[in-house]
């Protein structure tokens, strides 16, 4: 088993090459790109907005419990005969903690879904290609079963793009 990386100089070339490869029924392992590409990668999307929602609800409840608990249960203080607890004055803190918890949990959700932080590569001997993909090249990685398939891919792309074979 070996992996082949094809290096494309731009988005248009990448899309063209990808179409040709997928037409042949070859499975693409991953694509590395320096910029987000519209309408690609959506299939891998797991929803991180669930984290936002849960974080927001938790934050709101924490703020409510905090204020209700302090002012109405733990230590009742009489400020000029005002009610001990009223939703009206609790709203600002509830809003702020909702946003705070939602933002933090969204970030945590992002880390969970993308499995970051991960300071190493899944593919051995790929460091230089990663550098290229972070800078300005689009790198497409294919897993091949044998050398024949590698030759096929070369044929499909008509030798137009640079290819690197990585042996595992």
């Amino acid at each position: 088993m070996s992996k082949i990386a094809v290096i494309f100089p731009g988005i248009d070339e990448l899309k063209e090459g990808l179409e040709k490869i997928e037409k042949q029924g070859i499975k693409v392992l991953d694509i590395y790109s320096p910029v987000p590409i519209k309408n690609m990668g959506q299939s891998r999307l797991r929803n991180i907005s669930v984290f936002t929602l849960i974080g927001g609800i938790v934050g709101c409840l924490v703020a409510f419990t905090l204020q209700y608990g302090i002012t109405n249960i733990d230590y009742k203080m009489n400020f000029g005969g005002k009610p001990f607890f009223a939703v009206a004055y609790a709203v600002p803190v509830m809003f702020e903690l909702t946003v705070l918890f939602a933002a933090i949990s969204t970030f945590i959700g992002f880390l969970c879904v993308t499995r970051l932080p991960k300071w190493y590569s899944d593919i051995k001997g790929f460091d230089e290609l990663h550098e290229m993909a972070l800078k300005d090249k689009f790198v497409l990685v294919i897993e091949t079963k044998n050398d024949i398939e590698a030759g096929e891919i070369k044929e499909i792309l008509a030798g137009r793009y640079e290819m690197v074979v990585i042996n595992k």
């Binding site: 590395y32 790109s33 936002t52 302090i70 005002k82 705070l100 590569s121 972070l134």
Partner: protein, 408 residues
């Protein structure tokens, strides 16, 4: 230069902590003066960063990408400066945690949640945290792309560490975009809420000039106004220092100046509404306050504020001026001064003559207060220049995206 000012300000702050707020010019009537003026001023500056990064992102205004990073850095640093004033204005600063954090003190009493000062603490800390997350998330792909190219010392390794090992696979990008949009969606109401809460500090009192329902929108538009002026100023500095004329074009500054003009009109409208309320409400104290603003002890401050905030930005109707770096620089500095004077007149003019003539007092700042003000500018610019030195100042991947998008 700016670090000298910063040090001078820090010395003045240490003196304040050592000898108390008695060495300031504040008195029984004018209990808040330069400290809270500076606090509101810096919080206001801190608003435009998130406006530009979050609201313009949601509105898909791609021209934001040439200066959103520096605007976000500005936000964080300005909120730090503001937090400093919030901390030192209390006097006996070592007790602040008992007054504000929900933490029981030695008499088993919690802070008063009916007080807007406690709301303010939550609002500002939340704003700071969310701004930092937003700023950091925006930098992750750039740090990853920089890491291999920086050979100097340990900096490259630090970039790599903070890039979290970002690789830029399509799955990562898709989640990243979603994260960025969600954070922008969360930050947008936050921008509005933070300055609303700051304005509650004033609006829930019964003082004429403060007790007003117009305050939240008035403060928010003023904050965005002064913040945009600061973004114009910093963008011009960045463009000049790093020679980024091709990335930060005149076109971008033109658009930014249009935002500045629009928010300036909001501010003028707020002033007009305030005068209208005083006249239509028929409250003699409110009417006295307006008269006192135009003809009282501090009338020169109020009149120069009107000139700088209302008349000066009208120059921006001209397209030529919106594209001239020199005039822009002068206008943005003068608007910032004008907005500082606005906060001064809201706070000091309202406080120094309120209900009882027996408690009318004038206020003039001491050298300590002025030093802390200048020091805050020193701290702001020092931190900003450090940021310029060590971080990607322009959002690199967004620029790449725009370049790629051009021939798509």
């Amino acid at each position: 230069m700016s670090s000298i000012f910063a040090l001078w300000g820090i010395v003045a702050m240490i003196l304040t902590v050592r000898y108390g707020v008695g060495i300031w010019g504040i008195n029984d009537s004018v209990v808040w003066a330069l400290d809270i003026t500076n606090f509101v001023f810096w919080i206001g500056i801190g608003h435009a960063g998130t406006l530009i990064s979050a609201i313009l992102l949601l509105l898909r205004q791609h021209w934001r990408s040439s200066f959103n990073r520096s605007a976000e850095a500005m936000t964080i640093i300005a909120v730090l400066c503001a937090g400093m004033f919030a901390l030192i204005h209390t006097g006996r600063q070592w007790f602040t945690s008992y007054w504000l954090l929900p933490y029981i003190n030695q008499m088993a009493i919690y802070p008063n949640f009916i007080s807007p000062l406690v709301w303010d603490l939550f609002a500002i800390l939340t704003y700071f945290t969310v701004s930092v997350i937003f700023w950091y998330v925006g930098m992750i792909p750039d740090l990853a792309s920089l890491a291999p190219n920086v050979k100097r010392g340990k900096l490259g390794r630090l970039y790599f560490l903070f890039s979290l090992g970002w690789k830029g696979s399509l799955g990562q990008w898709a989640n990243y975009n979603k994260l960025y949009m969600l954070l922008a969606g969360l930050a947008t109401p936050l921008v509005i809420s933070v300055h609303t809460v700051v304005s509650f500090d004033f609006a829930v009192t019964i003082l004429p000039g403060w007790h007003s329902t117009i305050f939240p929108p008035y403060f928010v538009s003023g904050a965005i106004y002064s913040g945009c002026a600061m973004v114009v100023l910093l963008t011009l500095i960045v463009r000049k220092l790093l020679n980024l004329k091709d990335i930060i074009t005149d076109d971008h500054l033109d658009k930014l100046n249009k935002v500045l003009l629009t928010t300036g009109l909001f501010v003028i409208f707020s002033y007009m509404i305030e005068f209208f309320f005083a006249w239509y409400g028929g409250n003699s104290y409110e009417q006295f306050l307006i008269r006192n603003r135009f003809g009282g002890t501090y009338s020169y401050i109020f009149i120069s504020m009107i000139a700088l905030n209302c008349l000066l930005p009208q120059l921006l109707w001209s397209g030529k001026i919106r594209r001239s770096a020199r005039i822009m620089l002068v206008i943005s500095i003068l608007i910032n001064i004008g907005m500082w004077l606005e906060r001064f007149s809201i706070i000091v003019i309202s406080l120094h003559k309120d209900y009882l003539p027996s408690s009318w007092m004038d206020y003039s700042p001491t050298w300590v207060e002025v030093s802390i003000l200048l020091g805050s500018f020193g701290i702001f610019f020092t931190l900003f220049l450090i940021f310029l030195r060590f971080f990607p100042i322009v959002s690199m991947f967004e620029i790449k995206e725009r370049v790629e998008g051009r021939h798509e």
